[in-house]
């Protein structure tokens, strides 16, 4: 017996590829541009969103029959905000260095459209288990893109991965740098993320033509 039914596993797999929140729905672009200059920040952001969206979707789903329709957006905001504060506090306590670079963006999770979008579109109408899977799936889809972008930006921009010099030392001119290779400073700045995301969108749509919208 499969661990998940086909329908359930689609909830996780769809957002990873053909219904990716960033490349197909074009949500959550703000944080994808802002924090992906380093792989480490991308990974932490992905994990934070995974937590917030997974737990948040379950909470909203459990409350879906008691939330007054009139104030449902406010209730959703309170749930996201509370979870984000929890993430922020935990980071401050256990990953202080990281929390200093990330605190602004962790706060931005509150306004990340993916989260409100999944609450409104899915969790309000489905049971907790399905909502949980949907939350995890979308957060993973978001995280995968973040990590891909972070990987290329850190590698090409700083010549490092997770802060480790993988291409040699640019100052001492070892490794690739001995051959005249230079880091591309452009990759560090946010517009570079747009280009990388653009290339991912291009590759994805040329592999699966069904994704191309009619003009």
């Amino acid at each position: 017996m499969a661990l998940l039914s086909k329908k359930d596993s689609n909830l996780i797999l769809d957002p990873l590829a053909d219904n990716n929140p960033i490349t197909i729905q074009v949500l959550g672009i703000c944080s994808a541009l802002a924090i992906t200059a380093e792989l480490k920040a991308s990974v932490v952001m992905a994990i934070s969103v995974l937590f917030v969206l997974g737990v948040g979707n379950v909470v909203i789903s459990l409350l879906r029959n008691v939330i007054p329709a009139k104030i449902r957006i406010i209730v959703q905001l309170v749930v996201v905000a509370a979870l984000v504060i929890i993430v922020d506090q935990v980071l401050k306590a256990f990953a202080y260095e990281l929390s200093k670079t990330l605190s602004v963006f962790v706060g931005l999770i509150i306004t990340n459209c993916i989260i409100m979008g999944r609450f409104e579109a899915f969790a309000l109408g489905n049971g907790p288990w399905k909502s949980f899977l949907d939350g995890i799936g979308n957060a993973l889809g978001y995280g995968v893109i973040l990590i891909i972008v972070g990987f290329f930006r850190e590698l090409l921009g700083s010549g490092t991965l997770f802060g480790i010099k993988v291409l040699g030392d640019p100052v001492a001119k070892t490794g690739l740098y001995a051959l005249g290779y230079e880091n591309n400073g452009f990759m560090i700045i946010p517009p570079a993320a747009l280009i990388v995301v653009g290339i991912i969108i291009w590759v994805q749509r040329s592999r699966n033509r069904a994704l191309i919208e009619e003009a």
Binding site: P68, A82, I86, Y96
Partner: protein, 249 residues
């Protein structure tokens, strides 16, 4: 029993209960994690202070690297020999003087009260470092730091940080290429405590002249730079009486 979620009274009760529940969960969490967060902030301050007296893991010309958090506590007590508090003309030792909040002290002074000014004396390789805390404002928000001088009033090292300066411009005050310029600069101009100005177009971009009381400014960060100059000047005004007593003439 189906609840009528459309009723106004229900909406109000729901909102109230939600706020109380969420509020108490967050309050509980914040107080449970507070000791850990405070400890992190204390370590950070120790790292910054040690950085200003040249105790750090910097390699070559790259980025700022502090000594690791796991070692900072023992290194701090190894290098920092005395923690002083200057109150008017009185100077006395005080435990954990480095934790004194400069912002509070400066506002006490502004309102005419007498403040406790912390000053740390560090020792490395037989040489004494007098470490002065700095606090001021940049373009958007607070900037702060530490500056260490020797008995000749020559800067041995600085550390600056900021709350919300513009990334890529003013935020670069905590980068090596800016902070390293301060090393070796004299804060004296003749006999007056002139401080060090962050100057545009001082004709000394490589910072070879160490007696001009100037370092080269950051492009695009004029107001942050002026904030640094003012912050150093203000601190020297306060610490001048004490520095006069230790200065080698």
């Amino acid at each position: 029993m189906a609840i009528n979620t459309e009723k106004n009274s229900y909406t109000v009760v729901f909102a109230v209960v939600m706020v109380i529940v969420v509020g108490s969960v967050l309050a509980f969490l914040a107080s449970a994690l507070k000791p850990k967060v405070d400890e992190n902030q204390r370590f950070e301050k120790q790292q910054n202070i040690l950085y200003a007296m040249g105790v750090n893991d910097n390699e070559g010309e790259g980025s700022v690297s502090f000594i690791p958090t796991s070692e900072v506590e023992s290194e701090f007590s190894k290098y920092i020999k005395k923690q002083l508090v200057i109150e008017g003309t009185e100077v006395k030792e005080k435990q954990d003087a480095y934790l004194i909040d400069m912002k509070k002290q400066l506002s006490t002074i502004k309102s005419g009260g007498s403040a406790e000014l912390p000053l740390l004396i560090g020792e490395k390789d037989g040489k004494e470092y007098y470490i002065i805390p700095l606090y001021g404002k940049g373009l958007w928000d607070a900037i702060w730091g530490f500056m260490s001088v020797d008995a000749n009033m020559v800067v041995q090292g600085v550390f600056f940080d900021h709350k919300g300066e513009t990334p890529g411009l003013g935020a670069n005050i905590n980068q090596r290429f800016f902070m390293d310029d301060f090393e070796g600069e004299s804060i004296l101009d003749g006999n007056s405590y002139a401080g060090i100005a962050v100057a545009k177009g001082n004709g000394d971009p490589l910072n070879e002249n160490k007696d001009d009381n100037e370092v080269d400014a950051l492009a695009g960060a004029t107001i942050t730079g002026n904030g640094i100059s003012a912050m150093i000047k203000d601190a020297l005004k306060l610490y001048k009486p004490y520095l006069e007593t230790i200065r080698k003439k």
